[in-house]
């Protein structure tokens, strides 16, 4: 499994991907796997009023990753990246105990983040596995 961010030829990176780059409108032609990286908590919450099929309480964070220059195929191309490019992702936290803004977290794979079909979203319309963030 990978946690893929998407990069256009001008080096802008987004998570998730879009049909056209939100910064420059070019197609996104490359992916950047964040699953082995550590990120920094931008902000977080513990939600106690959760929808059907969602764990309660549900700890959530927005996490920011520095994007390295290496490509998903392992090659490196300094022209493909923008210096200091960062990308953010939203995800569940494994725990909120002691978590503060600025803390380091790492992605941990989970097969089912919420129960497919318990909520209103058509189960077949999207994936339900992904990554929680674990404080380092």
């Amino acid at each position: 499994m990978t946690l893929d961010a998407y990069r256009c030829e001008n080096g802008h990176v987004t998570y998730p991907g879009h049909t056209r780059c939100p910064d420059c409108g070019e197609p996104q032609t490359d992916t950047v796997d964040l699953s082995e990286e550590t990120g920094e908590v931008v902000t977080w919450t513990t939600s106690t009023a959760t929808p059907p099929g969602v764990r309660e309480p549900n700890h959530l964070a927005i996490v920011e990753f520095e994007v390295s220059e290496s490509h998903s195929d392992g090659s490196s191309d300094s022209s493909a990246g923008v210096d200091g490019e960062t990308v953010r992702a939203l995800g569940q936290l494994t725990t909120a105990d002691g978590v503060e803004i600025g803390d380091e977290v790492e992605p941990v794979y989970v097969e089912e983040l919420r129960e497919p079909g318990a909520g209103i979203r058509e189960p077949e319309s999207q994936e339900w596995d992904g990554y929680r963030f674990e404080p380092v």
């Binding site: 998570y15 902000t43 939600s47 995800g91 979203r121 999207q126 992904g130």
Partner: protein, 383 residues
């Protein structure tokens, strides 16, 4: 150019209603037609602002149902869905229909029926607007509010109590609104001691789940004078979007759609934030009142909380915000809320707001969909 006038307005009782969506819409529509002195058969266009009647109730096609129920056939109808900002988007559509010359008499009715669902189900219907990578984590609109509030308090060194004071102020205002869901004062301790919903936000930082409807009747100003001297003018209206995926915004404490839509509205009205006498903001969560009051240009970034602390936004302050009680105490029937904001301004500008009355010639309403994903800003004025 012939300006666009509003010659009639109404809102139903907001709260836990027995009526279903068709009945709610018809109730508000009928009242607004009476207020305007217009018959259903006089309508050229009839718009319905509604987010999710199909998902909530299994009733789709509500604009056509309403046209039939109000003797408005063969008026052109359309449903305007922009999630929580459907009402503001409906004002934009109604304004366009008259300003373009396509319609000489347009009614907008906004409504939603929600309370028959559990809180979890209703929250899920609303959360279904999120991207799959957000939805699979169980994110809700309240949890976006919690994350944004934490960031705001941290970034601008604002005290937690300042958020609570938004709830206290808006509940106090709602006490004098006969249509409000809650007509109950709350003190700061009650807010700060209420159960956590999305840390650091608590129950009283959130608006309730609500049934209700509101309506407005639009026509060219030249036609308005045939009906009444008591009308208001839509001097500015603007709509804009921000990112669908909330975490992709550069600054989590700025709502780009509020900034962009208000600039369009200010320019159209030839007004600026300093000209606004009264404002209805989308306080679905207390933190949103801070963000909008800053992104609309009323206060510097990071200073909105001080205005609430200093009473600037109280009913008797320099810039009263949410004299209606806001979504916080009035309630938030999704598709109705933007329309009901304009109803409050209509009453304020005509001097019909009773105990809530403030001195105002120019009013602004900001209606926010998603978590700032789409926004409409409307400026109404005395003629």
């Amino acid at each position: 150019m012939d300006r666009v006038a509003i010659i009639g307005a109404s809102m139903t009782q907001f709260g836990d209603r027995d009526a279903w969506i068709r009945e709610l819409l018809a109730e508000a529509g009928d009242s607004a037609l009476r207020d305007a002195g217009v018959d259903g058969s006089d309508l050229d266009h009839l718009y319905v602002s509604n987010m999710a009647s199909g998902e909530f109730e299994g009733q789709t096609g509500v604009p056509n149902a309403l046209a039939h129920d109000l003797n408005a056939v063969p008026a052109y109808t359309a449903r305007i869905d922009q999630t929580s900002s459907s009402g503001g988007a409906g004002i934009f559509a109604a304004w366009q229909s008259v300003a373009s010359g396509a319609s000489e008499m347009t009614m907008l009715v906004g409504g939603e029926k929600m309370t028959h669902r559990t809180t979890g189900e209703a929250t899920d219907v609303i959360a279904s607007l999120t991207h799959p990578v957000e939805y699979k984590h169980g994110v809700t609109l309240p949890s976006f509010a919690g994350m944004t509030a934490r960031k705001y308090l941290d970034e601008y060194d604002a005290p937690r109590e300042s958020l609570g004071k938004v709830a206290v102020k808006n509940h106090k205002n709602g006490l004098d609104n006969p249509h409000a869901q809650f007509r109950k004062e709350v003190d700061l301790d009650t807010v700060l001691d209420s159960p956590i919903v999305a840390d650091p936000l608590r129950l009283y930082d959130f608006c309730p789940i609500t049934d209700g409807s509101a309506a407005l009747v639009f026509c060219p100003e030249s036609v308005a004078r045939e009906y009444t001297d008591d009308y208001v003018v839509v001097s500015g209206v603007g709509g804009a979007t921000d990112t669908h995926v909330v975490h992709e915004r550069d600054d989590p404490t700025t709502m780009g759609g509020v900034v962009e839509s208000s600039q369009i509205a200010y320019e159209m009205a030839d007004r600026g934030p300093e000209d606004i006498d009264v404002a209805e903001l989308h306080d679905m969560f207390t933190i949103l009142e801070f963000l909008q009051s800053e992104d609309l240009g009323f206060f510097e970034k990071g200073e909105g909380w001080k205005a609430v602390e200093e009473g600037v936004t109280d009913r008797d302050g320099d810039l009263p915000i949410n004299t209606s009680g806001g979504l916080k105490s009035k309630g938030h029937p999704l598709g109705a809320s933007g329309v009901a904001q304009a109803y409050e301004l209509y009453q304020q500008l005509l001097g019909d707001a009773g105990a809530r009355q403030v001195d105002a010639e120019v009013g602004l309403a900001c209606n926010v969909g998603g978590f700032g994903n789409c926004v409409s800003t409307t400026i109404l004025e005395q003629p």
